[in-house]
C-alpha cells in the first residue's frame, strides 16, 4: 500500500468519525421520538426501538406545540416575503444609484446587523406598547422586518453589484426610468437572491428567541419560546420533549436539506466579502 493510499484511508476515517459525532444529536432525537412510552428509560437511551416504530411521541409533542408552530408560520411567512422585497429595493438603490455618501449610508444601515438586541430592548418594548403592537404576532413581524433591513440589503446589494451596468445603460437608451429599470430589468434577474434572502429570513425568524420571548404573550408564543418552556417544565417526559424538539427543528431542517445550496449562499453573503 502506497503512502498516498494510506493517507487517504486516514482522511476518510477521520471524516467518518467526525460525521458520526455531528449526527449524534439527530440520531438521539430520531431514536427517542420513535420509541413507545414503555421503552423510554434513561438507562437504555441508546437502544433501538423494539417491535417497530411508534409515533405516539410525535402526536404528544405535536399536541403541545401545534398552536406555536402555527404562530411561527403566521409570523415567518409575511416577514420573509416583505423583508425580501424591501431588501431588494434598498440593494438596487445602493448598488446602482450611488450618490455621494451612499457607502456611508450603507455602513450606517449595516451596523444594525451586529448590535446585541439587549441594547435596544427596553425602548423597543416601551415603543411597541405605545403603538399597541406589544404581545401579538403583527408586532413581531414588524420588528423582524426592521431589524432584517441590514442583512437583506447587504445580500441584495452584493448580488446586484455583480450584474454589469451595460444592461442598465441599454435600458436607459430605451427610455426606462429608475423604477422602470428595476421593474423590467433588475427584478426579473433577482430570482436567485430572492431565494437566498427568503430562506435566510425564514430560518432566522423561525429560530429567533429573544424578541419572541419578550414581545409576545403566552398565547402568541412562537415555537422556540414554547419549546424552551416545555424543556424547563417537569411535567413533560423527555421522549415527548425529543419529538417536540424534532418537530420544532423540522421546517428549517427541511429547507436546509432541499434548498441548502441557497442557504449556503446566504451564509456567504453574511460574511461581508463572500
Amino acid at each position: 500500500m502506497s503512502r498516498q493510499t494510506a493517507l487517504r484511508i486516514l482522511f476518510y476515517f477521520i471524516l467518518i468519525v467526525l460525521a458520526l459525532g455531528y449526527l449524534l444529536p439527530v440520531y438521539l432525537l430520531l431514536l427517542t421520538s420513535f420509541k413507545p412510552i414503555s421503552q423510554v428509560d434513561l438507562k437504555t437511551m441508546w437502544a433501538l426501538p423494539i417491535g417497530g416504530l411508534h409515533i405516539d411521541n410525535f402526536i404528544a409533542g405535536y399536541k403541545q406545540l401545534a398552536p406555536n408552530i402555527n404562530n411561527s408560520l403566521m409570523m415567518v411567512i409575511p416577514e420573509a416575503l416583505l423583508s425580501a422585497l424591501l431588501g431588494s429595493f434598498n440593494g438596487y438603490l445602493l448598488s446602482k444609484w450611488k450618490f455621494r455618501g451612499s457607502n456611508m449610508v450603507f455602513t450606517f444601515i449595516l451596523f444594525g446587523m451586529f448590535i446585541p438586541y439587549q441594547s435596544i430592548l427596553i425602548p423597543l418594548v416601551k415603543f411597541m406598547q405605545y403603538i399597541k403592537l406589544y404581545g401579538d404576532i403583527p408586532g413581531l413581524v414588524l420588528v423582524h422586518i426592521i431589524y432584517g433591513i441590514p442583512i437583506t440589503t447587504l445580500i441584495f446589494r452584493n448580488y446586484y453589484a455583480g450584474i454589469g451596468t451595460e444592461i442598465l445603460e441599454a435600458g436607459r437608451i430605451d427610455g426606462a426610468s429608475l423604477m422602470g429599470l428595476y421593474r423590467f430589468i433588475m427584478f426579473p434577474l433577482s430570482a436567485p437572491s430572492f431565494a437566498v434572502v427568503i430562506i435566510w429570513q425564514f430560518t432566522q425568524a423561525w429560530n429567533e428567541f429573544l424578541f419572541a420571548v419578550i414581545l409576545t404573550n403566552q398565547s402568541n408564543w412562537p415555537v422556540t419560546v414554547a419549546l424552551n418552556n416545555l424543556a424547563g417544565s417537569q411535567l413533560v417526559q423527555w421522549n415527548v420533549l425529543m419529538a417536540a424538539t424534532l418537530l420544532a427543528a423540522l421546517p428549517t431542517l427541511l429547507v436546509y436539506i432541499f434548498l441548502g445550496r441557497y442557504f449556503l449562499r446566504g451564509l456567504m453573503a453574511g460574511a461581508l466579502k463572500g
Partner: protein, 357 residues
Amino acid sequence: MLRRFKLNPSRLILAILLILLGAIAMYFLSRAQLVVAGSNFTSIAILISGLVLYSGMLVIVNMFEDETVLSIAMLLPSIVAVAIFVYGFIAWSVRVSLSQWKGLLPDYTWVGLSQYTYLFHDARFLIDVRNTAIFTVGFIAGCLILGLGLAILLDQRLKGEAIFRGVFLFPMSISFIASGVVWGWLMNPATGDRTTGINLIFKSLHLDFLISQWHASPQPWGMVFTVIPAVWQLSGFTMALYLGGLRSISDDLREAARVDGATEFQIYRYIILPMLQPVTLSAVIILGHMSLKIFDLIVALGHKDLRLDVPGIYMWTTTFDGTNYAQGAAIGILMLVSVAILVVPYLVQNMRTETEL
C-alpha cells in the same frame, strides 16, 4: 440640483390621490381601532397609510427628473427605520442606563455613571464577563481549528465530499434553543444508575475515566463545556468559509510550489495558510460578535443556572423579572460596546476599501 421640472397632469392627479388616500386613512385610523382575527392592526395600517402618502410624494419628486434625489427619497423609509430602531433606541437605552429607573413606572432621574460603576463591582456581572471571555475564546478557537481542519480534509478531492459537507453544515439551520435542549440531554451529568447521554456511551465502552459532569462541572470548566453545542452548530459554517477561500486559490500556485520541490505540508504552511488570513479575519468577526451576545443557547442549556450566567441573561432577568430597567439598560449598553469594539473597525475598513473602488 433640481434642474428641470416636467409637469405631467395624469401623474399629478395620481400623486394627489395617493396623498389624499393616505392622509384620510391615517386620520380615521388614528381615531379608531382596526382589529382583525383578534390582533390589533391599527398601527400597522397607519404605517401602510403613511407609506401610501409617501409614495404620492415620491411621484411628485419624480417629476423633477433628478434620479439621485429620487433614489435617496426611496431609501429614506429604510434609513429612518434604522435611524429610529437602531440608533434612536440605543440613545434611549443610554439615557435609561444613566437614570435610577427601578420598578414599572419610568423614572429618568439622572444618576450619572453609577449603574456602570455598580456593575464593575458586582460579583454576578464579573462572573458574566469571565464566562463570556471563556466562551468566546473556546468557541472561536474550536470553530477555527475544526473548520480549517475539515476544509483542508474536504479539499483533498475525496469521494462523497458533498455528503460530508452537508453533514457538517446542517446544525447551522437549527435554533440555539433546540440545540440547547438536545445537548442538555446528551451532556446529562447524572451519575450511578441514572447515568445517561454521552456518559452512558462512555460507560458501556468501559471508558469511565471520560465520564464528565459536563456543563455542571465546577467553574470555570462548566462554562468550557457550553462551547461544545456552539461549536457543533458553527464549525460547519467556518468550514464553508475556509472551503470557499481554498477553492479560490489557483491550482497553478500549488503546482508551481510542487515543481520547486515543496512538500504538501510546506505548501499549506507557507502558501495556503497565509492566503487564508482574510477568511480567518471574517470568521473571527462573525463568530466573535455572536459569542459576545450569546444568550438563547445558554438559556436552553442551563435554565438560568447562575454559574453559567452571561450578560444577555443577566440583562433579561434584571430588566424583566427584577424590573431594574436602569441596570438592565447599562448591561445592554456594555454588551453593545464590546461588540462595537470588534465590529466597527472592520465596517469602517470595509467602507474605505469600497470607496476606493
